[in-house]
């Protein structure tokens, strides 16, 4: 196909052609970035916590009245929960990923360091590894004699009695690799304060922190500290996925019968908790998808409109060409090539613009750089849409009979 006549025709419709190119470029740029943003959201929503998520239930309770025997009552609750048929493990903890509160601490590897090396999430509770289903890849889990009660820990801190504090901890692989790259973390010391250190006795493969994700989602540590009702009750129960509904019902009934004087704040499967946490990301992804589709439809309609106009305008010249021997295929081809040319110029400009928008997003929204693979995706999308949109008007053009050439207007 000779593109020379197309170019000379376009030169006579410079302004309209430029508008079409501008529209395609803008659409291409926005759609590329929107698809990229959708990808980012999906990636965020699919992030792994390292836990046996489909086997977990949680119940958050508020207690009415301050009770002196909180520790014993919590132990009784846990025992009762473990007795429910199907329950493999249960615990009282201080946080789980994607719930609305989190517990974090600054970490040093040497007490003389002025600045914290990282900030890590700090898990408390008896049996965190077993209940959350995280994988221990080195060292050991805590021994029963290593556990302390949180209230006692607070009392010790108040007295400045640091040597009786729990001295061991478990860290995630990511945290160990960050603190001691390439070294064996077992036996190393982490400092949670100037004069309080803990020895790493085990490494878990992966465990997301409770919140504060901007500080590094995979940095978590587990301390051998039991947590009682006085600090709020967050019970996590592990059971087989198909038993969850039944176990949750029995657990709530059991907790209520043990002590009716409390309020269930929150309850459900971990999957529900996670689904709820990402609701904004899900709706944002939906909006981005909607806008992208809207843009593509508007652009397609614009192409249809302009192409129809051009076909109507060139009715006579098409007739002349047909009379001079051009086939229907030639005419069809002409309009398709013309559209392909305009779309290609638009896409090239759109790529540059997409990169510019991405730079703006990097500065204002701390997003990573647009990976190159999104550009061909946008290009193919627009080429496809351009060809589909121009097909109708082009077919109409091809249907113009040669006799039109002989008619006077």
């Amino acid at each position: 196909m000779d593109i020379k006549p197309i170019l000379s025709t376009l030169r006579r419709h410079k302004f309209t052609a430029c508008l079409l190119i501008a529209q395609i470029a803008l659409t291409c740029a926005i759609v590329c970035n929107a698809i990229f943003l959708i990808g980012q959201r999906l990636e965020r929503m699919n992030v792994s916590t390292g836990m046996a998520e489909h086997e977990l239930l949680y119940i958050q309770l508020a207690n009415i009245g301050n009770r002196p025997d909180a520790m014993a009552r919590t132990a009784a609750d846990i025992e009762a929960l473990k007795e429910i048929p199907g329950v493999t493990s249960a615990m009282s903890t201080n946080q789980i990923p994607f719930s609305d509160s989190s517990s974090n601490t600054g970490i040093k590897t040497d007490p003389t360091q002025q600045n914290n090396v990282i900030n890590a999430g700090e898990y408390l509770g008896e049996g965190v590894v077993r209940t959350l289903g995280v994988q221990l890849i080195a060292g050991r889990d805590f021994r029963p004699d290593e556990y302390r009660d949180l209230d006692d820990v607070y009392a010790m801190l108040r007295r400045g009695d640091n040597h009786a504090l729990p001295g061991s901890t478990l860290v995630t692989q990511a945290m160990a690799e960050r603190l001691w790259p390439g070294q064996n973390p077992l036996g190393k010391q982490v400092y949670v304060a100037q004069n309080i250190s803990e020895t790493v006795v085990g490494v878990v493969k992966e465990l997301a922190r409770g919140g504060n994700f901007t500080e590094g989602m995979p940095y978590s540590m587990i301390d051998p500290i039991r947590i009682g009702m006085s600090s709020g009750s967050l019970y996590v129960i592990r059971c087989a996925p198909q038993d969850r509904e039944q176990v949750l019902k029995s657990a709530l009934a059991k907790l209520k019968s043990l002590n009716p004087n409390r309020i269930v704040l929150n309850k459900g499967t971990y999957d529900e908790l996670r689904y709820r946490y990402f609701r904004n990301d899900r709706s944002m992804a939906g909006i981005l998808l909607g806008v992208s589709l809207g843009l593509l439809i508007i652009t397609a309609l614009g192409i249809v409109g302009l192409a129809s106009f051009w076909v109507a305008q060139r009715n006579r010249s098409i007739g002349v060409r047909r009379a001079l021997g051009a086939t229907r295929g030639n005419i069809l081809n002409y309009f398709q090539t013309e559209n392909f040319l305009l779309t290609t110029i638009g896409i090239v400009l759109g790529m540059v613009l997409a990169y510019g928008i991405n730079l703006f997003l990097i500065v204002h929204y701390e997003l990573p750089r647009l990976p190159g693979m999104y550009l061909p995706v946008g290009a193919i999308l627009l080429w496809g849409i351009g060809q589909a949109a121009v097909l109708g008007p082009a077919l109409r053009a091809a249907a113009v009979p040669p006799v039109v050439a002989t008619r006077s207007v």
């Binding site: 302004f15 079409l20 803008l26 508020a62 002025q114 600045n115 409390r262 809207g294 106009f309 305008q313």
Partner: protein, 434 residues
């Protein structure tokens, strides 16, 4: 003349229904998307206390140790108990109030209601006069109640409706965490958005249910929620926060003149220097004094997604406009013959231009009305989103006029170029060609 152009425009638009519909639809979609997102942003970045917020300030000082210290480091967002109490008692401002939030179990005395968790603000006496909180019944409390750790409470009108069916409940009993409180006041309609004075329990649509004295909450060891930041390895025992190196309290002051603001800032610096000299503060004096809007800006209260959506919608509108310009140009150029005849019959370029602009204005107005409908649908959709600000997304009068103005301006802008190009045709050429 204008009405003639108007009827010409309508006739021309009717001649090409599909193209007209396409242009109106494009403008309507662009405007609708833009106005939906702009309205949300407008609601979210509004002034929570118009007329009052300019004289309300949030003092920040830096009591931390040298860990993670560096140049230009911001002081913590909250105060320790010791500093908060000192600044409160110093009374260097017209009004000052110290506060934090928590969830308290509320046990209704009515048998038909189960106990539930109520959101409580633990604060001090000046909270009510400083923020100009309206009362439906009763009033707030005074300094004596703060000092005496009084078992008193102020409740919101929605809680009053729930517990007492809206009747005057002043003097009645309220049971919180197994303790009896006496209701002294019921608030009127007061829903500052953003929830500027306490951002840790949610920035929007997060009214509390009860207000009780801060001293009482500590005396009864009521649960404190929100953020607690500690340093120096003293732990964060929630029942012992008064004596730990932890920041967990918000503090607001009312300063009525720029001179007062300057004086208060000097006061904060002097306090920090004294504490530094005494060895309690390890960092050099590092203070901030932001007013409500500056504080909201600093805390980045407006969700970044809302801003991103505005940019997205603006991009969408631009594409829609470019699309409309192209279609309008095609349409006007197609009528070159008709325009040529009008020129030949004596119409000036200016009148042609005016006629074509009226036509694009009509498209804009139709698109604007369509956009308004789409924006209302869009806002309805936003209200059914799970975000915590969803319920606030309502169109107000200024945004309504802004929508229509934007639509007409946008389409006039879109009509400008095509009309200018179309009215410059030479009549002779057009007539000859036909």
């Amino acid at each position: 003349m204008l009405s003639y152009y108007f009827s010409l425009a309508l006739r021309s638009l009717r001649r090409n229904r599909v193209l007209t519909a396409l242009m109106v639809l494009a403008i309507a979609m662009g405007i609708g998307a833009c106005m939906t997102t702009l309205t949300v942003l407008h609601v979210l970045s509004g002034d929570p206390l118009p007329g009052r917020s300019g004289s309300l300030y949030y003092p920040q000082i830096d009591p931390q140790d040298m860990d993670d210290y560096g140049p230009n480091v911001e002081p913590p967002d909250q105060l320790t108990w010791a500093d908060g109490m000192y600044l409160l008692k110093a009374k260097r401002a017209a009004h000052q109030a110290l506060m934090t939030e928590g969830m308290v179990p509320l046990q209704p005395t009515q048998s038909n209601l189960d106990p539930f968790q109520a959101a409580a603000l633990y604060t001090t006496a000046d909270f009510f006069p400083m923020f100009g909180v309206p009362f439906k019944f009763g009033q707030g409390w005074g300094e004596q109640e703060d000092d005496g750790k009084a078992r008193i409470a102020v409740i919101t009108s929605s809680l009053n409706d729930k517990l007492f069916n809206g009747a005057n409940s002043v003097g009645k009993e309220l049971r919180l965490q197994d303790t009896s409180f006496r209701i002294v006041g019921v608030l009127g309609d007061w829903h500052p958005n953003p929830h500027f004075y306490e951002l840790y329990m949610g920035s929007y649509d997060s009214d509390e249910d009860v207000y009780i004295p801060l001293s009482t909450s500590r005396d009864l060891k009521l649960e404190h929620d929100g953020t607690t930041n500690c340093w120096g390895g003293t732990g964060s025992d929630p029942n012992n926060l008064e004596h730990l190196s932890c920041v967990w309290l918000q503090f607001w002051v009312q300063l009525n003149s720029p001179a007062d603001v300057a004086a208060y800032k000097t006061f904060l610096i002097h306090y920090s220097e004294d504490q530094h000299a005494a060895g309690r503060f390890l960092r050099p004096a590092n203070v901030r004094l932001r007013n409500v809007m500056q504080w909201l800006d600093y805390q980045r209260v407006v969700p970044s997604d809302a801003k991103l959506q505005v940019w997205l919608a603006l991009g969408f509108l631009v594409v829609c406009l470019v699309n409309t310009v192209g279609l309008m140009l095609a349409k006007f150029m197609r009528r070159a013959g008709e325009l040529g005849v009008r020129r030949a019959l004596g119409a000036s370029q200016r009148t042609l231009f005016a006629q074509l602009l009226v036509e694009s204005g009509v498209i804009g107005l139709a698109g604007g009305l369509g956009g308004l409908v789409l924006a209302l649908i869009g806002l309805w959709l936003v209200r059914h989103q799970p975000a915590d600000y969803a319920a606030l997304a309502h169109m107000d009068i200024p945004m309504l006029f802004a929508t229509l103005t934007l639509a007409v301006l946008a389409s006039l802008l879109a009509g400008l170029l095509p009309a200018w190009r179309a009215c410059r045709i030479t009549p002779a050429l057009q007539l000859k060609a036909n």
